[in-house]
């Protein structure tokens, strides 16, 4: 069977339940010793790890990027590679990036011009984020042994207070920094098979500056953060709710979605809530700090349509309930994704 017990299937990389199960059963097993007490280590399966060094925290993260197509409306694999890692650090609370690494595995026959284009993107994104790329690696594999180009980036940054994705408490407001589903839809639309024509661009961007603005305004009032990549808002909320052991209620009408994304989603029968974002964050915020955080986000060019989309409750811990405006339903976690690779 596809992706059965003894074979890894595409769903294991899709960011949903299957991937988490694989990580828990295979990757975590035997990898003892996470960070020192109080740190955020492998077992937390957070966006990164936080290790205490003196009176500061060293935050470390790594990501591999396998997106197809490599160039898509709104960005490319280079921009994605930098943004993905910078954003993982940012939502851990580490917005001043000390350094990035960047490794490439290139398929034999890959176009040199395309490679130069990807590098130009990497450099531009790195400058935009203030995140220098200090070291890397380059390998070439034979034609057909790898699909085009695979990028891996790792990032390190210091911060004074790491923000986990497990810190939500009942009563906390949930704020999203902008429109959701843009990246996922852009990638889908870029695939010839769907023949969709519209302004569907990825939102891929480093948001460390935006998160900095929120942290400056909200301080300790920001209890949890996550960036909703694969599996979209739905996956991210599920993880946060499960790890924090709170219930979440989302008001569907309050979730910002671009009209083009909603139209494409309607046409394809896909829920924007499960589509990836690559330039957004979800914040859990104490009620008293929510207004200040929203104001700070909206003052930033990348946060203009930031919105409060829901709240945490002590009822139904781990479950995410969606108020549709007509009724209510459970927002189920996406499982394996039959859709093309999107990040």
């Amino acid at each position: 069977m596809n992706g059965g017990e003894d074979r890894i299937g595409l769903k294991h990389g899709a960011g949903g339940r299957a991937m988490r199960a694989l990580i828990e059963e295979v990757c975590l097993r035997g990898l003892a010793g996470s960070a020192a007490a109080g740190g955020i280590g492998l077992a937390a399966m957070d966006d990164g790890a936080a290790i205490q060094v003196g009176d500061r925290w060293l935050v470390v993260t790594t990501d591999s990027h396998v997106v197809q197509p490599i160039f898509f409306p709104g960005g490319d694999i280079g921009r994605l590679a930098v943004s993905g890692t910078v954003n993982d650090l940012a939502v851990m609370g580490a917005t001043e990036v000390t350094a990035l690494t960047c490794s490439l595995i290139i398929e034999e026959g890959f176009s040199r011009t395309d490679l130069e284009r990807v590098y130009a993107s990497l450099r531009a994104a790195s400058e935009e984020a203030g995140a220098p790329i200090v070291t890397g690696d380059t390998k070439v594999m034979g034609r057909g042994e790898i699909d085009g180009l695979v990028l891996n980036t790792a990032g390190v940054a210091f911060c004074s207070r790491p923000v986990p994705d497990a810190g939500l408490a009942p009563g906390d407001a949930l704020i999203v920094t902008g429109t959701i589903g843009d990246h996922g839809m852009a990638i889908l639309a870029a695939r010839h098979a769907l023949s969709l024509d519209g302004d569907l661009s990825s939102d891929v961007a480093p948001i460390n500056g935006l998160v900095r603005a929120a942290l400056d305004a909200g301080g300790d009032g920001i209890t949890a953060m996550k960036d909703p990549t694969r599996g979209g808002l739905s996956s991210a909320l599920h993880e946060m709710a499960a790890k924090s052991r709170v219930g979440v209620i989302v008001e569907e009408a309050a979730v910002p979605v671009r009209p083009e994304v909603r139209a494409a989603a309607d046409l394809l029968g896909i829920d924007p809530l499960v589509m990836a974002c690559e330039g957004k964050a979800i914040l859990g915020v104490r009620p008293g700090a929510a207004e200040a955080v929203l104001t700070a986000l909206r003052a930033h060019p990348l946060g203009r349509v930031a919105a409060r989309i829901g709240r945490c409750t002590d009822r139904h811990p781990g479950a995410v309930v969606l108020d549709t405006g007509y009724g209510r339903r459970i927002l189920a976690e996406p499982e394996g994704e039959p859709l093309p690779r999107i990040c």
Binding site: D197, G198, D199, P259, R262, G269
Partner: protein, 98 residues
């Protein structure tokens, strides 16, 4: 399989129409639509074919149908007074989801 989704015809080339679905466009074939279609018409699309030309007058008529449904029923007004007032107060436009 995709739902039947309504959209607006923005261009026609032979039996192929470009249809705008609120911001994304797609090609839709006109081979089996029930009436001749012109630019500006609304059509219902199902797996790449237009299966109905939706007369614009039907939009208003459908809303009227809904009103009638809620207003009558033999046993009196089904719509609570506060809801009726709300509709009257807002000018009765459906919600803008964007």
């Amino acid at each position: 399989m995709c739902l039947g989704v309504p959209g607006k015809v923005v261009a026609i080339d032979g039996n192929c129409a470009t249809v705008d679905f609120w911001g994304v466009r797609r090609q839709v074939l006109l081979d089996v639509v029930d009436e001749p279609v012109a630019v500006g018409d609304y059509v219902l699309n199902h797996v790449g074919y237009a299966i109905r030309r939706i007369p614009e007058s039907e939009i208003g008529e459908t809303l009227a149908l809904f009103e009638e449904l809620l207003a009558q029923d033999g046993s009196g007004d089904l719509m609570a007074a506060d809801v009726r007032a709300e509709i009257a107060g807002t000018g009765a436009g459906p919600d803008d989801q964007s």
